[in-house]
């Protein structure tokens, strides 16, 4: 049973996990987002504290990607606010949001296919005058495979390697908050485990993480807190331990039968 492991994982960050942090780094306040006439988010409230890993769970079409896209400035909320360190950042164009310290590894990886691995990483550091050496070394240390493949066209990488590149590229912008949209999508279990342990390491090095996942069991194991989105609303939230123990979560997202 997965719950056996959770006290140990959560034990590392127990104080932050116990209650929402006093000074949230990233806050979504009553955020309503529409695609034309279709409402995708119906007034969601989410907080991410400095140093946390927070997971957004939810079925297909729940609004997880919409949430991350709004934070990054690709969409503007019709009402409500996005705040970073207490300052409103909604309505700011994406290239300015990156400069404020929010990096994203988007859904489907979206590496630049006709650029090399190195060029993709350099694109991640576009906001800086020159590519920071320390960042590049850090990314190569986290993902030695990227170093091996640095001259290869990104479009020819395997799915797992592309995911590593997408995360590494986001890290090159030296984000304070890293947004990860379904990093485990379509990857073999071994690679998923590897990516998740690297996310944990990135967080341990000081980067706050907001993770979107369908792979609920593994995501909750590494998170401090989590929110469950259903058709555009937050249905549940709590510490990872609470959600792992919740029968509704277990049934809907951990693939267990009602009686388990």
């Amino acid at each position: 049973m997965s719950t056996i492991e959770t006290p140990e994982v959560n034990g590392l960050t127990q104080p932050a996990a116990a209650k929402p942090p006093v000074t949230p780094l990233l806050e979504l306040h009553e955020m309503h987002v529409y695609y034309g006439a279709i409402q995708a988010l119906k007034g969601i409230n989410v907080t991410v504290g400095e140093g946390e890993i927070v997971t957004l769970l939810g079925a297909n079409g729940a609004g997880k990607t919409t949430t991350l896209r709004t934070i990054s400035g690709l969409l503007s909320p019709r009402s409500g606010e996005v705040r970073l360190n207490g300052e409103r950042i909604d309505g700011i164009p994406p290239h300015h949001v990156v400069a404020l310290g929010i990096g994203q590894s988007p859904e489907g990886r979206r590496v630049f296919p006709r650029m090399t691995v190195l060029e993709n990483l350099q694109m991640g550091a576009y906001r800086f005058k020159s590519v920071p050496k320390a960042e590049l070394e850090r990314v190569y240390e986290l993902f030695p495979r990227l170093h091996e493949r640095r001259s290869q066209q990104a479009g020819t990488l395997s799915g797992g390697e592309q995911q590593m590149l997408a995360i590494g590229r986001a890290l090159m912008g030296r984000p304070r908050v890293l947004l990860l949209d379904e990093p485990s999508m379509g990857l073999a279990p071994l690679i998923v485990a590897q990516i998740f342990s690297i996310i944990k390491e990135i967080n341990a090095q000081g980067t706050t993480v907001l993770l979107v996942e369908q792979n609920a069991a593994q995501a909750l194991k590494l998170s401090d807190r989590a929110y469950v989105l259903e058709t555009g609303s937050v249905m549940m939230s709590g510490t990872a331990g609470e959600l792992l123990a919740d029968p509704r979560v277990r049934e809907a997202y951990l693939g267990e039968g009602a009686g388990a």
Binding site: S72, G73, L74, P93, P94, H95, V98, A99, G103, Q104, P106, G108, R110, F112, P113, R114, M115, E119, Q122, M123, G124, Y126, R127, G155, R169, G173
Partner: protein, 306 residues
Amino acid sequence: MTVQEFWDYLIPGIALGALYAVIAIGYTMVYGVLQLINFAHSEVFMVGGFAVLMVFTKIDFNDPSVGMSVLLVLLGFATAGFAGAGTAFALEKVAYRPLRKRNAPRLAFLISAIGASFLLSNLAGKLFGRNNHSLTIPFENKKVFTVMNAQVTVLQVLIVCSAVIMMIGLDLLVNRTKMGAGIRAVAQDAETAGLMGVDIDKVISRTFIVGGLLGGIAGFLFAMNSSVGYTMGFFPGITAFAAAVVGGIGNVRGAMLGGLLLGLVESFSSPLFGEEWRYVSAFVVLILVLMFRPTGILGERLGRTA
């Protein structure tokens, strides 16, 4: 065709192809970042010709010295480049950006492009008259050397050399600079480029400026070879567009290759098939290439990824 004819038609073919290549770059780069065929690019080319015409008619040069010739050619480049870049910059701001901000459908962009093309061309007709103006060449266009008995003129050398320099410079800009990386990133996935910190509006603006600079200069070089007129952009423009498609639209090196190919084909078509085929040949090649390789010679795929 005799061997002598081959050489006689090869040299003007290379010069023409070099010009088409430079113009085609403007089509292909804009297509890369906007997925739009900028039909008004032919009028950016025309503006380059008219701008130099206006400047040169103000200067009284008769039989200029070599130094003076060099200065006048440089002045021509600067004038045409500046006018072309400025026109392209304004064109994007007025004809395309408002549509982009409103998420207009593709068709609206195309109609706007065609409208801008007609507008600029006929505006020039209104302002400068509908007859052709000859542009005085600021040097003596004598033959510099012969290749296999075929003459090579100063103008041909100037056209080929400046086209080669522009193409090398552009290739370096696109592949070796940060600005070029931004252009390539926007072309491959604009939204993700934005997530990396690229100011997409700025990249699109700069792409038009660079394409317009080359297009304007090509207009000046072309005008010295023929004349300046409000429809001068039409045929070279549509041929260069065909060249961009033949090379693989969106691919800069493809545009260079396609331009050179169509210039040569156009030049050789008159001795081979008769003068009346001259303006048909490029499009026969276009159709043939598309039949066997729909993405063009160097094109990987049409449209964007993901």
